[in-house]
Symmetry: D2
Subunit: 343 residues, 4 copies
């Protein structure tokens, strides 16, 4: 039984608390939030749980084994670091921290103390992304050609991170899982229409192999869009998170290049298409948070590195750092350093 506290009971924290309460591996012992109204609601929903305004109260308790951090991004690093220092396993919302240096520091601390550090890259725990991961790895998929994503909706404007850190982070975590290539450079464009941070942004990621990724993110869209295409040479996937069913569709479509074609008429006939059936693999209805908390408990128990551990969190933050630099120079390409915390 893992005794756990939830830090932050705003937008996402209640989902963490609800999932923890449903799993027998955990006991939810405390919820921290500065807002008394939120604490009152937490108290009504979870009658036996301690509610506190200061997360330090929870971090200081000896009877707590782990914390789940769902506070604003700028507080991830200090809270996670303090939690690790207090010997607690840490599950933290994305992004892991605000800089790659902070990420590296958290990874080191968790390693030294042999604690589990898991970043809530929630999409890698969805049945959809797990299925996509499996499909892309099959030879029938062919070489992967591109990853294209649009994530748009109205709000919520974040005060301390721009729309790339808020939404593109999901795609970068999926790409980290699914694309067998290393990001080498980015070009990002965008705009801050109002005071504060960019609310509309576009990010192209270049890799060390002939595959390209593009992510469009937007807090100012009238409709909610969560549409991803992953294209292989022989099969193509459309993944629409907004669809209530058939979220993942596999198209048996591809491109054939005929190199033996008559050189004279070559340019016109080189490339042909193949179009076949469409297939929506059955996905179990399992909430991603349930899977993630199950995985967190396992990692705590067996000491294994989580699928979305500190290194995954670091890789994502590195791309975001480069993207932010490119964004300030109208798409000027920026290289991504290849070093990891361990080498």
């Amino acid at each position: 039984m893992i005794r756990i506290a939830v830090l932050g009971y705003g937008y996402w924290g209640p989902n963490l608390a609800r999932n923890i309460a449903d799993q027998a591996a955990y006991r939810l012992v405390a919820i921290a939030d500065p807002n008394p109204d939120r604490l009152a609601l937490a108290s009504r929903r979870h009658p036996g749980v301690d509610v506190v305004t200061d997360p330090a109260e929870a971090l200081g308790r000896g009877d707590i084994d782990a914390v789940a951090i769902a506070t604003p991004p700028s507080t991830h690093y200090p809270l996670a670091l303090e939690a690790l220092r207090q010997g607690k396993h840490v599950l933290v919302e994305k992004p892991l921290a605000e800089t790659s240096g902070q990420c590296a520091r958290l990874i080191e601390e968790a390693e030294r103390r042999q604690l589990t550090l898991l970043v809530d890259h929630i999409f890698v725990y969805t049945q959809a992304v797990r299925k996509i991961h499996e499909l892309v790895a099959q030879p029938e998929f062919g070489d992967i050609l591109y990853y294209d994503s649009v994530r748009a909706n109205l709000g919520l404007f974040q005060p301390d991170v721009n729309v790339l850190w808020d939404l593109a982070v999901h795609d970068l975590s999926i790409i980290n899982q699914v694309i067998p290539a290393r990001p080498v450079a980015v070009s990002a464009t965008g705009m801050r229409h109002f005071e504060g941070v960019e609310n509309t942004a576009y990010l192209t990621v270049f890799f060390d192999r002939p595959v390209i990724a593009h992510i469009g993110v937007n807090w100012l869209a009238p409709v909610k869009i969560r549409q991803v295409m992953v294209c292989g040479r022989k099969r193509m996937i459309v993944y629409d998170e907004v669809e209530p069913s058939e979220k993942v569709k596999v198209y048996d479509k591809g491109v054939e290049v005929d190199r033996r074609a008559n050189p004279e008429s070559a340019r016109k006939i080189l490339i042909s298409y193949r179009t076949g059936d469409v297939w929506a693999p059955h996905l179990e209805h399992i909430e991603a948070l349930k899977t993630m908390f199950g995985h967190f408990a396992e990692c705590i128990s067996n000491g294994h590195q989580p699928i979305s551990g500190g290194e995954a969190g670091l890789r994502v933050v590195k791309v975001l750092e480069a993207a932010e630099q490119s964004l300030r120079h109208r798409g000027q390409p920026v290289e991504i350093s290849s070093g990891t915390v361990n080498g």
Copy 2:
């Protein structure tokens, strides 16, 4: 009665011929195409019309007043120039020509000879874009914030132009019509997965006002997507060309920025959203080609400049030229010269 010839009876030419045959203002007198099978089909559909393999035959005839050119892009310039020299009015597929220099040359020739030169920027003749134009100009729309478009489908790979010239050209013609600002720079990324030209590309356009446009185009997508968002401060439009009805939806949604907010808590409460009804204005079912050919006949008759005349064609080609340069340098921003052919 305008006596007209159609040059090129491949993918698009049959649509031109069909619309010409339906309009009393025209008499379709000749169809040219190098492919005998296509000419046989043309002949069966239009029994009385002359079919020729060489467009020069049609261009040389004195009893032809106008030509509609639907041949590959690289032939637009020589055919249009020769047609103008022969004193014929010209309707030409997009893009007007392969370079801005060629565009300027065609504009000059048409002006000197007082002939009508119309580029088939087909979207500006759709009921949908006409309605969007009207909506964006209304004060209730608020300042325009962004234009975002995705055009994707499987094929057709063009041998002589890349996917930007093939698909982004549509958006650039719409932007030219709808956005009251001048493009000043672009950043473009993309990839040629196979021999030949880029099949996947992304283009950001920066303007001389705080509005941004982004266009994603793709010949390798498993599904056909034609989705455009035009966002204003007070209203937002989603335009989906693939939808059989309700192609244009207007969202009474907007963003309010409260500048008087408490400075301390400011960043969190500055921006709020307003969400209201959604509205799909009724659009008449009129084929855009019908509208365009009606407009062409009017311009020939009254000598007015077409909505999509040579200057519009030139402005679009200028952005495409800059985009192609940026594309070769991974998104490096490229400025767009402001000069027009007339000054």
Copy 3:
């Protein structure tokens, strides 16, 4: 503060319990279910609440003011009757009871004891149906011409009621609320493909005015469909419960009948159509159960009759009784008696 027990913690009971826990007007004091696994889950989610296997335990307690009954339909009548006899306010899942006689008995008991009896006709508490009710009542809607509904999905086969009692009941409760006419007869067809009850059925309701209702319900459909059309002479509504947004769409379409038309050519030109804009009114995101429990608390407090009180429950059951009779005779029309419990 209303002290309340939830009877039945199967499919729907957890939603009742969750909503009760969220509302300050209630205190959830007991949950009854015969299944120990369900009780264990209830206990984990609602730590302070008494869990019991026998509903009689909850009904017998003097410190309980009200019960929410979410047990199988065949138990609604005995449990509701006993609860009323014990002086408790009753909220009961649809259908109110298995026969109109039972419904009348419950109504009498509640009236005599001045207790609130509310049937969970959940749809009348949705923002969508409330908006439809408002729209249909406006003169711009014109006379209502028909109500057409399809409710289909795979499962859940009910052991003790057929698909009409399970799904058509929703539409009958909406019709009861929205259509200003009295049902006078029904024709129903259907099939039981397997042992047990009908899993596919179709119901036509005739009224005392020139309006018709048709409801198709199905437990054997591969996709979930919840599509309702409400058609007026001047406006038409499509209500799709499955859509995540724009659930209710209003079409400014109508039919004009020209009675002065030339008698000779009359039949061809009598009827013409008018097509205008489409409009999706903004609906607040409020869970219907929240609205219903708020309404239940109000009715308990002020003694008013609920929107979906016993009489509404009775009217729905009367139509279902007639439908079941027609169903056994391949659509043979069956009249509906007009008497109510009070006259």
Copy 4:
């Protein structure tokens, strides 16, 4: 080369003429229509073709081998009969005639003269219905359980036939092709909201096997719906004609009935569901009219009976006759006679 005339150039006739012109097996020699405006349009589109106001002119010509009849339903019988008498092959719009007696008369005439009589049951020539036919016949589909269809749109009110004859006829022709069972009875309900014929109707068809069909048709719907479900014990099909792609979807879903279940708890556990992948078979893009005219030419040439010959037309009209009778008595079931013209 089949020399053919098109009778009627209203809504559907132009599609017939266009397809005839495109096929080398035919020569379109005449078009008849009483309306001079329609004839002028026909003349512009088909310059070499004779246009006449009176169909008798075409029927009397000795140089015409076949006619395609697209006139109002009430004229199908006299025109088709006269055409057969004049020794011409006949392709006639649905319904074949207004009564089963008339249908029988046409079948006899065609048989005696060894002429081809084909009813334009257009849907049986679509790639979608051909695929469905193939799927339903496979053992993996399991026994067919039901056919459910909704066809709705705004207009066109027909003066001389009600909505069943106009729209349900499509489903009856598909059912005749796809369901391996004989219709034995119908129950139909509906309403005529205005003068004239029923504009909204519902039809249940009972068969000599445990399968049921239901068809809802409507000329007063704000949206166009063409949704068909064909459900088997092991697989289920959804066919949406309005979808631009993936019109036919096959759901690997089914129902298992466990007859060995514990009798006591039997009713609850008897039936379980199986849910698997969804699959959209690739369909060639071939216009159904093209397929139908190819088939007509083949039948004329080899003397074979068309897929949608006179007998198919008769079977459909028999169901419609029974439906109309039931419609007048609020769903009263009406039996369908089993006799065919030949026995």
